[in-house]
């Protein structure tokens, strides 16, 4: 077995030990201490990144949920406010219209009353005119038919009696 036989050789064990120490030492320093921690750090960084991203996604999901809730509440409130505004505008418009209508009604009624008064005045003046003209005509008729002169006042009274029944 060379592994045992060669132990007798002067150079065998010293060389094995020397080269193992040198090469395994280099492997330990360069790979174990130099490269391994960097690879490990990369893996750790990736694990952390994945965990962070998952947490961030979860947080974003929750934030989106609250925003949606807020949006829904806001839109509900806005809808209610809009409805209220429309209602109040409608009410106001109705009240305004009523007020204007009442005003116009009052104006129209005033105008109507004035017009009626005018008509009544015109009528009475016309009536008076008709009375005087009719009394004159009646006096003339009586004078022409009977030659009797009727006093204007009498004629007026007789006409008034006929006209007013």
């Amino acid at each position: 077995m060379p592994q045992i036989n060669q132990l007798a050789e002067n150079w065998y064990f010293a060389s094995q030990l020397f080269w193992l120490a040198l090469i395994f030492g280099a492997v330990f320093v360069v790979i174990g201490l130099g490269m391994y921690p960097k690879i490990e750090a990369t893996v750790d960084a990736r694990d952390r990144k994945v965990a962070d991203d998952l947490a961030a996604a979860k947080a974003a999901h929750a934030a989106a949920d609250t925003i949606e809730d807020q949006y829904r509440q806001q839109s509900d409130a806005a809808r209610a406010a809009a409805q209220a505004a429309v209602q109040s505008a409608k009410d106001k418009a109705a009240r305004d219209a009523e007020k204007r209508l009442a005003k116009v009604d009052a104006e129209l009624a005033g105008k109507m009353a004035a017009a009626e008064a005018d008509v009544a005045a015109a009528r009475s003046s016309a009536m008076a005119e008709i009375e005087s003209v009719a009394a004159e005509a009646a006096g003339d008729l009586v004078a022409k038919l009977s030659g009797v002169k009727v006093a204007a006042a009498d004629a007026k009274q007789a006409v008034k009696a006929v006209l007013h029944g």
Partner: protein, 260 residues
């Protein structure tokens, strides 16, 4: 190699050939050897493999994912066996695992570097033994540094009845002291046995080819079929032995860190 002098020697493959004398320390000569070359080749291959994992991308490519698979394998083994404190020892165990794995696998490859015959570095107990003693030394240093003389309570398992302690403690002590030997010998024996087996079956094909087609063909075909199976098995053993070495090292470090 084995054909020289017409004699078959399945052990010859484990011979370390000296290549060039470098220097001498205290009467001991240090040579550049085939063993050193194969260790260096394994280290360089390992370095190249790791280099592919250094892109440090957020979304890893295939190579980076492979390297991260190895680092994740060792770091999860360490945190399972030792706990969060195990991270401190992961660089050592990772270097150990990868170096042994690459040496094992490279030793199985049927090619040579520049005329140097293939050699499995880990089939030498001088190599595995030194690595085992290194792991054992780390256990002792960490154990005594963290727990002082309290580390000796390792030899009294928790809940042992008082009268049993004089019997249990020596047994525990012996089993503790045997650890570096079992650690080093296990890898050396597994590698040696596998390679001897492969060489023996390969030799069957060569030997039987001289005995004519009637005997040679069936023996060769059967041997080849077995060799294919054993090669696959040896690939598995190469990985498992590297894993066992790293696993046991992590369990021993756990004893030193946490007692029990």
């Amino acid at each position: 190699m084995s054909a020289e002098a017409g004699k078959f020697d399945p052990m010859h493959q484990f011979t370390v050939e000296p290549v060039a004398k470098l220097f001498a320390v205290g009467g001991r000569e240090v040579w550049l050897t085939t063993s050193a070359l194969w260790m260096a080749a394994a280290a360089i291959l390992l370095w190249l493999f790791m280099l592919g994992g250094m892109k440090r991308q957020l979304v890893p490519g295939r190579w980076q994912a492979a390297v991260e698979g190895f680092t994740g394998f060792i770091s999860s083994m360490m945190s399972t066996n030792i706990g969060p404190e195990g991270r401190r020892y992961t660089p050592y165990v990772f270097s150990l695992f990868m170096f042994i794995l690459f040496c094992n696998l490279l030793g199985l490859m049927p090619f040579a570097i520049g005329g140097m015959h293939p050699l499995t570095v880990t089939s030498h107990f001088t190599i595995t033994g030194v690595l085992a003693i290194l792991s054992f030394a780390i256990v002792l240093i960490v154990g005594f540094w963290r727990h002082g003389l309290h580390f000796f309570s390792l030899f009294v398992p928790h809940g042992t009845p008082w009268p049993m302690i004089p019997f249990i403690a020596p047994i525990e002590f012996v089993s503790f002291m045997v650890r570096p030997f079992s650690l080093g010998l296990r890898l050396f024996v597994a590698m040696t046995a596998g390679h001897v087996l492969l060489e023996v079956f390969a030799n069957f094909i060569i030997q039987s080819s001289g005995a004519g087609a009637a005997i040679g063909l069936p023996v060769s075909i059967a041997s080849l079929a077995l060799m294919i199976g054993i090669s696959a098995l040896e690939l598995l053993v190469a990985g498992i032995q590297a894993y066992v070495f790293a696993l046991l090292t992590s369990l021993y470090i756990n004893d030193a860190v946490n007692l029990h």
